[in-house]
């Protein structure tokens, strides 16, 4: 059903409305993140790059869809992913064998990634809870106060006796880690490491 609507939209020549595009991105693209990061991880040897590559692919997919929403979001997203990885790999002259092998599997149809089904409300809650458990106790507490108790930044800061900046910083960490978990990535809080990444890129 959804696909038919998509096809009808595609024939329209004009640009897709912003709101429609945002809705499409949240409804159809983001739920594929688990498959997408899995695909990127399998095909890219620097694991620290996975999140950035995933975002690059979102950026390209979103831009490309301005001219018309694709009839199959999944095929479209993975085609964008494939091209992006190949281009990056060519530029860096590093190509993994699996990149090529995997792409054939994707062409093979939707069956490969049936795992991203729509979660019902109960599953989503369970999933969010599991994401909360991965946070550090401090971040978890602050996210809890915000999302469940409905405290704003000032109230949270007062209650915990810390500054507003600290509250915001913890909320940012929590928000990003929850996004990674809920949408399918690792969901660990990432505190930046400068050294490893830098060294590697300067060598390559």
């Amino acid at each position: 059903m959804r696909r038919m609507v998509g096809r009808a939209r595609r024939s329209e020549p004009e640009m897709v409305e912003q709101e429609e595009l945002d809705g499409w991105f949240c409804r159809e693209v983001l739920p594929l993140e688990r498959s997408l990061t899995h695909f990127v991880r399998r095909n890219w040897r620097v694991q620290d790059d996975v999140m950035d590559l995933t975002h690059d692919i979102y950026e390209r997919a979103y831009s490309g869809a301005r001219n018309g929403l694709p009839s199959s979001t999944r095929h479209y997203l993975f085609a964008v992913a494939r091209n992006h990885l190949i281009n990056r790999a060519r530029r860096e002259r590093i190509v993994s064998f699996e990149l090529v092998a995997d792409l054939e599997a994707i062409g093979g149809g939707d069956r490969v990634f049936t795992a991203d089904s729509q979660l019902n409300a109960r599953d989503t809650l369970r999933h969010v809870q599991a994401g909360m458990e991965k946070l550090t106790p401090r971040v978890r507490e602050i996210v809890w106060l915000r999302k469940v108790e409905g405290f704003n930044v000032q109230e949270t800061a007062d209650r915990l006796g810390i500054g507003k900046d600290a509250v915001n910083r913890q909320l940012m960490l929590g928000m990003k880690a929850l996004a990674d978990h809920i949408l399918g990535g690792s969901g660990k809080i990432v505190r930046r490491r400068y050294s490893a990444q830098r060294e590697r890129s300067s060598e390559e």
Partner: protein, 343 residues
């Protein structure tokens, strides 16, 4: 910090700010402007907003419509903190679980190894040191447990002889490549003989590879001493630490220190993978040919100089050739057991 880290942070800040009571229509206008500025802003924002909204479902836990995942107590925040202990427990359990098959496989192999010793030398049961020989065919890998608790993993086309017991621990790597995990024993150094070199350790993880007269030692953990031996006497010694790779040929030894990630790549073969860092295609093909009867060859020397990096399965030369065709536009031609690569 990558450009995306920065964008994600800014998007997160916008979302937090927009939930604050003092958020004004002017603020909203600046946010709209920021979102319109670049697609990367928009996708990062949408992604975080989407999951942040979903996190709002946690509120269901507050007003009794809870699901039976976890009981909700009076102080919910405190309740969630309790799960830390539970988490540590699961983490431990999952790690133990992950190691279980490996441990089982290792102990099985130790049993097989012991069986082999008993079969080959039925009269030597009481002897302090039993000797044994282990060999792998091309493309094969094999893990062998030694009587002292050490472990040897043989790579493709390799031959190892061992004389390991309570009083003496000695191994000869006659051909190929092997990874060693040596059980710690201060009193009895573990000595390996490989192509004119003698490698001495007390307890550590490392690999040795012989290619003709060239010996390469890669140390994953601990300390290793490499001696240049002439007429049974060590004439030169090199001490290596974790992360070091020593390449010896004739009287010279070159030691390089690699980063944690790089040194792990030296051991990729243990997972059946080959790892290359911008190496010439001709060297890369020679590596593949160590593992397979189906040989890869370059048709002209110029093609052999192309630099290749990446991680590839050792047992799939055909797939690697296909990759060269698809990614580099090279021609591949197959006849019998040979795959020729040309421009």
């Amino acid at each position: 910090m990558t450009r995306w880290d920065e964008t994600r942070d800014r998007a997160a800040r916008w979302i937090l700010a927009s939930e604050e009571p003092e958020w004004s229509s002017a603020d909203q206008a600046s946010l709209d402007l920021w979102l319109a500025e670049a697609t990367m802003h928009r996708v990062a924002y949408l992604r975080l907003q989407q999951s942040w909204r979903q996190a709002g479902r946690l509120r269901a836990l507050q007003d009794g419509r809870s699901i039976a995942v976890e009981p909700v107590s009076e102080d919910k925040a405190a309740k969630l903190f309790d799960t830390d202990r539970h988490r540590a427990h699961t983490r431990f359990r999952s790690r133990a679980f992950a190691w279980a098959p490996i441990a089982a496989a290792a102990s099985l192999l130790i049993m097989i190894g012991a069986g082999l010793l008993a079969l080959s030398w039925p009269g030597m049961r009481s002897a302090p040191v039993a000797t044994a020989e282990f060999e792998t065919a091309m493309g094969a890998r094999r893990i062998v447990g030694l009587p002292d608790g050490s472990k040897v993993e043989l790579n493709t086309a390799s031959l190892v002889r061992t004389a390991v017991g309570k009083a003496r621990r000695e191994v000869w790597l006659d051909r190929g490549e092997a990874y060693f995990e040596v059980a710690h024993d201060r009193l009895h150094p573990f000595v390996i003989h490989a192509g004119g070199r003698q490698i001495t350790v007390l307890g550590t993880k490392f690999s040795i590879r012989c290619d003709g007269d060239r010996v390469t030692v890669s140390v994953l953990e601990g300390r290793v001493r490499v001696d240049d031996v002439e007429d049974g006497r060590a004439i030169r010694s090199t001490i290596m630490n974790g992360g070091d790779v020593a390449m010896s040929r004739g009287s010279s030894t070159l030691v390089r220190t690699k980063s944690g990630e790089q040194i792990k790549n030296e051991f990729a073969w243990r997972e059946g993978m080959l790892h290359f860092e911008q190496q010439a295609l001709s060297d890369v093909l020679a590596e593949f040919n160590r593992y397979n009867a189906r040989k890869l060859k370059v048709a002209d020397p110029a093609v052999g100089t192309i630099r290749i990096g990446g991680m590839f399965p050792a047992s799939k030369p055909r797939a690697f050739a296909n990759l060269l065709r698809d990614a580099y536009g090279l021609k591949i031609e197959e006849s019998g057991e040979t795959i020729r690569i040309s421009e």
